[in-house]
């Protein structure tokens, strides 16, 4: 009995400690407050929240401008300015801590054009990028796109790679792109950088990288039904047999 009691309290203690992130912070627990301005209107919010959670604290329920909440999906691009500064900054609402005197607005959607193509039929050279994105030739190298990127990608550099037809370098530089669209929204030349990066990376993956030989061999083996008999046996095996096979596994060397 005594043991069970401990277990229950462990779960309760874990739940209690997690309350700030599962059901929201309690006002009485807040030690430090800051003032933020959501589309111009001031709200007093706890200092250790992100822009996203601070807006929720203030009473906003998101249906736009929110997605994974962990910096992977690019739904919560936000433009802000700090009090006393003239500079507009960009960031992800879910990954940026609020600061006192922050003026902010979310940009949850970019009305950018996405060209239609079939990568199986396109030539692996610079012409494919110029055909679908002729506007890249208008890049004035102002670097505003790179400055806007919440992933700190050297966006302008990969657009230059696109102009040179350097797919490998383009893929490497643009790889961490989460397609939030902030680069395109800031670009004076109307380039949709993240779509250029997408086509470039797919072309490099399809034509620049070779499909591994061991994969090709395995596909042929599957087509020849090489593993069917073994799997027939496993599929029908008793639990006891499977337990035995599981225990007998030999771990590959590190």
């Amino acid at each position: 009995m005594a043991k069970k009691k401990t277990e229950k309290s462990v779960m309760d203690r874990i739940a209690e400690a997690n309350k700030p992130v599962t059901t929201g912070v309690d006002e009485k627990d807040i030690k430090q407050w800051v003032m933020i301005y959501i589309m111009g209107r001031g709200y007093k919010v706890p200092a250790d929240l992100t822009i996203l959670t601070a807006m929720e604290f203030a009473g906003y329920r998101f249906v736009r401008g929110v997605g994974c909440r962990q910096g992977f999906c690019g739904a919560c691009g936000t433009v802000y300015r700090k009090a006393g500064e003239y500079k507009l900054q960009t960031g992800l609402a879910c990954q940026t801590r609020v600061e006192d005197g922050m003026y902010l607005v979310q940009i949850p959607f970019s009305p950018a054009k996405k060209p239609i193509y079939n990568i199986q039929k396109e030539p692996y050279d610079v012409s494919v990028l110029l055909k679908y994105f002729p506007e890249i030739a208008r890049c004035v190298s102002c670097n505003t796109c790179s400055k806007a990127c919440p992933q700190d990608i050297e966006t302008m550099d990969y657009i230059q790679c696109a102009l040179r037809g350097d797919f490998e370098e383009l893929a490497e530089i643009s790889f961490d792109c989460i397609r939030c669209g902030l680069c395109a929204m800031r670009c004076p030349a109307e380039i949709v950088q993240y779509n250029v990066g997408q086509l470039g990376r797919r072309m490099y993956g399809r034509y620049g990288l070779k499909k591994p030989e061991h994969l090709k061999v395995r596909i042929k083996e599957l087509e020849a039904k090489k593993f069917d008999k073994e799997l027939d046996v496993l599929e029908k095996a008793s639990k006891e047999k499977l337990v035995e096979l599981y225990a007998a596994r030999v771990r590959e060397k590190d």
């Binding site: 700030p20 059901t23 030690k31 009473g59 962990q70 961490d176 993956g205 990288l209 499909k211």
Partner: protein
Amino acid sequence: MAEKYIEGYPEYMYKLIQKVHKTRSKRKDYVPEAMTPEEREDVLQYHPDFAKGGKRKLKIGVNKGDIAPDEVVDLIEAYPLIGKKDVDLSRVDYSPEILIIGGGLAGTSAAIWANMMGVKAEKILLTNKLRHGDANSIMAEGGTQAADRENDSPAKHFIDTIGGGHFTNKPDVVRALVSDAPVIMDWLCDLGALLDQEDNGEFVEKWGGGTSIKRMHSCADYTGLEELRVIKDEFENRQIPVIEHYPVIELLTDGNKVTGAVLWNLETGEYKIVKSKVVIMATGGFGRLHIRGFPTTNHYGATYDGVVLSYHAGAKLIDTDTVQYHPTGAAYPVQIIGFLLTEKLRSSGAQPVNIDGNSFVFPLEPRDVEASAIIKECYVKNKGVNTPTGLRGVWLDTPLIEVKNGEGYIDKAFPGMKRMYERFGIDMVKNPVLIFPTLHYQNGGVEIDPWSRTSVEGLYAAGEVAGGIHGKNRLMGNSTLGTMVFGRRAGIDAAKFVKKTKSWGKLTLNHVDKYVKMLKDAKIKTDRRAPIILPEYRGKAALARMIDVF
């Protein structure tokens, strides 16, 4: 505040980190041994699934008597959002042959494969609760399993998977998973996905917890992001119709088989009626239910909608009693509590370490075992580190990764992780990070067969919403794999099904009437309604003064 911070940590935590630095060289070549089956059994008593309380039996429906977490039962035993009186089913807005609900890896793959099998793009419709691509898929960091090396085989993958699931997985479904895995890798290569390769042109393949062979493929620590953005781009090029911010609030049936769905505009509140021959449910999992009060790695929209809707329509569920807690969620700083730290960190050499600087568990146990060992270390052995917000955690010794793999490795292999910590002033190359288990995955779900078919005609399920694949515990790298394998299979089989099915079924909400009657017969009195669509995180003070006047 007066609190002094050093390298992103409060001073007292920074002092404790020095113990981790001190023991590193000793731990480099010493790792605790993997547990025996008996030791695993013993430590699992600390797993939230087995700890007392927090769950109960389902009182109604096909799975009556099965056990599930309270948060899940609360949604099953809740009244539907709409009834016959609320909607006009005579005016149909869309009539695709195949309706896909959810645009993560599973739903998007299903659409592409249905199209490749000859279903015209305009005969497919993909609907999303938020944006197309807003899904847990995009947050998958570590990788995708596939047995494609000479020393590996689908059979070895099968045994690892079914053993990891405690022999409760459906064998025929596991067979589909492991046999198709190399096919999926081949498809990803053809689509131009950038899978990590060694200098010799082979795939980089790493350990996953609970596997006997290194077969985890990755795209740095943005695996799901790369897979999804490539597959979504392919989907867009095929010009398959898609609607966003339109969650499904109820399925439609002819009384038995599924014949369509009611969509609801998240911004305007207007509903739309869809008539279809097939519905593919690909709505993901339930992390946002915060089961047992745990934080989650999951997407904002992971609220169990797909299972609730399928259950209304009479679909059978499986393995509702287990939940996957990822061993390594962030425990500090507060802004990232519960966020995922990929298992690949441990397969690259990072070790869990306690407050004294000692390692206490083999780093690559199956997830339920590893998570239990961490909970035990923190709350039973009291060897955890307390954070300023009251959470406990243990260290994940990330600097050890570079000791083992060379300088600069973290930058190359974990750009996403490194960036996340840098945003909060922490350098994971130099210092360890604090972790605690976090709610990660819905092991069970709507039961499927090897072709993603559910027990209800016209209803398929793929991805996390589907059950049977992983049994009672999923292995790393089998989730992204499962989404694409069963998404593809759903698309292929649905294409065959719509070709041979000439007639369209009647649109009714009779199943909802039946469901409400079941609730009443079981004397379930509640004002709970489901699906919930989105979680509630608004501030309590603001909510308390909100009034509805407009």
